[in-house]
Amino acid sequence: MPMLPARDREFESQGLIVRQALAYRLQMVAAASCLMLLTTDCGALADPVLDPKGPIALAQRQLLFDAVAIMMIVIIPVFIMAALFIWRYRGTNRNARYTPNLAYYWPAEILIWGVPAGIILWLSFHLWDGTHKLDPYKAVDPSVAPLQVEAVAQDWKWLFIYPEQNIAVVNELVFPSGRPLAIRITSDTVMNSFIIPGLGGQIYAMAGMQTKLHLLADEPGEFWGRNVQYSGRGFADQQFRAIATSTGDDFDAWIAKVKTSLDTLDATTYEQLAKPSVKVPVTYYSAVEPNLFDKIIAKWRDGGTAHHAPMTAEAEQAN
């Protein structure tokens, strides 16, 4: 490059800085729009967790938002400091101050320990409070009698028993909106995990043990629920429809429909049902063996065996 007069060289370097700054800003804009695209365009806001349909999921979301907001007190300074320091203290910038032995400054130490500690203190109170309020074992509204449902995880389907109505359903959970739902959960196979993302959850389903989950749908609607704990080759299809009916009458009509089913669930038909099967269609049982849920738990407590036929070479082949 031919030698330029000093003034021109200065202009050139200024031009370079402007170009660099411009490129940097463009990068920021691109990054921001990517983020927007990720969170809004592709429908994240219409998803079950961020768009809840019941008070439990709503409260869970609120805690999520509060925590994100308070954490920004540390997150944003990190981003700003990183960007600022990388730019300002780049080695080629001879105008920036250079203090190679700066290794301790007590106000900074107090700040970097104190501020995160303060945030965690604030968060701890909310965590304690939220965890107790949203305890899945706690009734949503103690003054209202909830609808009792018993859920049994099987390979690879869900069985719902309505003890008060004496009916059972495979892969469909129907309940009236506005009335709390009290679910007792167990497994007749490996460990599963029960969730309806639009309403709340989740809780493990374990053989020989029972867990509990209380839910409430504010408004009528159709949701999906499923097992989210990996459980074998039929796992991906182990899901069910959860339907919150608009009125109690609709719910009663559904009960009446189930009651017309010719199938009943006694010890023999249950054994058949409990065998591994995939993509089982919704099945109604108009009557259920008394205390079936407790018997399933007791079976494992007292010994018990799996319904799983030991995997043969052919079955493994089929995988």
Partner: protein, 677 residues
Amino acid sequence: MFGRLTIEAFPFYSAIAATGAAITVLGAVSVIAVITYFRAWRLVLFDWISSLDHKKIGIMYVMLALVMLMRGFIDAAMMRSQQAIASGNDGYLPPGHFDQIFSSHGTIMIFFMAMPFLSGLINHIMPQQIGARDVAFPFMNAISLWLTAAGAGLVLISLAIGKFSTAGWSGYPPYSGAEYNPGVGVDYWLWAVLIAGVGSTMSGINFLVTILKCRAPGMHLFRMPLFTWTVLVTSILMIFAFPALTVACGLLALDRIFGMHFFTNAMGGNMMHYINLFWLWGHPEVYILILPAFGVFSEVVATFSQKRLFGYISLVLATMAIGILSFSVWLHHFFTMGASADVNSFFGIMTTIIAVPTGVKVFDWLLTMYRGRIIFKPPMLYTLGFLVTFVIGGLSGVLLALPPVDYTMHNTTFLVAHFHNMIIPGVLFGYLAGYMFWFPKAFGFKLNEKWGTRSFWCWIVGFYLAFMPLYVLGLMGMPRRMEHYDIPAWQPHLIVAAIGAFIILLGIICLGIQLAVSIRDREQARDLTGDPWNGRSLEWATSSPPAPYNFAILPHVQSIDAFWDMKHRGVAYQRPDRYVDIFLPKNTFVGAFIGGAGFVFGFGMVWYIWWLAILALAAIALAIIVRAFDDDTDTIIPASKVKEIEDARFAQLAKAPRNELADDPGFAAEAVPEGSS
């Protein structure tokens, strides 16, 4: 005779599985072919495989890690591509195959990529940082390496003979029990983890004793470089945590082989006992992996900001705090088990508390850059990428620590995104930064910077593309480990994630090209001084690569940043008056033999070939007894030989009088006190 092993174990039933097996076998054959072609068997056997030199063991660990990184990444790429296409259809992988892939991906990345990478960096660097000539127990060090390799070998051979586990990397019972999973897959996982776990426990003991007993004169604990501090805490975690894993897996093995009922559904078994034990190891394990990476970042950020590390005491205290807290949070991996609100709150709060020391570290690194002169070499780029990306993972981690939030997010891809957000920028970027930072130390020439920079950009862009969509999917309720799905709204995100995985592949390719180009151009990138980055800690006081004994004369340490201080006082390259004989451990094949026998033992246990397993165990016992009676385990490097090596080194130093970093436009200063230049 051959237990469960029959001809049906070979994967001729599926084209994809057979291809995997063929690639594995081809890989092994080509390694043998290359060694034979270069007539390098003598070198490989007598200089490397039998070596007890901590530096060579470290290099072999890292080589193992890089090979397994490749294998683990192929698994990841297969999962991403399967999920990108399997919307409303079955994709190209059947469930039984997809499940093996996610299980082997996690197992490989944690046990056989991250752990060996970690042990490799520690092995090579930590003894040099404290001014030692080797680790405390060089022979045990070799056993650790070869047991880890034996575990990795079991995972690899499961591709060609039999199948791997489908129970995920955490192997939750009762699914992983014999009743639901009678095949060999879980056994492969079990014995790979058990055998490698024994190696890791011994590594922890070795590193801890080395740091406590082998420091150079004057190297007080509070003068140790931060990397060594993090190794100290990590090795304590290893010693306390790994036995929990060994017990959990051991009991699961008893369940599977002898039909016992520790974790079964029936007969009083309880799967939650396993899950408690597993995470009692599993959570400290996260910190075992990440603390040394934090150590690397501390070294790198100070070196390339050309400034003292800010808040040394704070960083040490934060490291200790994380180490202690890591044992009090394991229950956050299963808030959804149905524990009481009090229990969940306690573990939730303990988990959020870890964010405090971690946040302190991030700010200390940022403040190290403050008023520094930052040089953007690839290790520094990885560090900066980590700083910015890691806080996002920290945020999602705190969210998951809130039990009510965890109820909705547990087992979803939000969780997957979270822990990859910690482990890729936190752990892997740290190790890659360390690899590029210390490569010249290990091999005597620098890695190509252009390709290093390219690999960084591919990794970071690929990371964001691959994992930010998983956060979104998690909020949409998508569970992890879905082989196919029928919610079409998920697919666009999964396609973006697959593109991200592809860009990460480019990053891995860049790493390979970087290595090849650097080896080709090594003469132009020689590190003649042993101090290519104007370094601060003692490992830069040795030559590159270091002499077998590291230090001809043990250094006397007078401050933090010991080597910087020596350069400052003008005593860094003093020639001693006379040299003395140096004792070093003699090479032996016993370590590799024990590893090989460990592999055979594992293979016998997997296939129920009992006689083979018993034979292998007996061989290990015999080898240890024979070794114990061997009193001639040292070799002496006579003073004359030391003088010869050192004279050559000083002659080389004389040819490179200048600081190697001085040509960099961002170079600030030699090691001189502020204001006196």
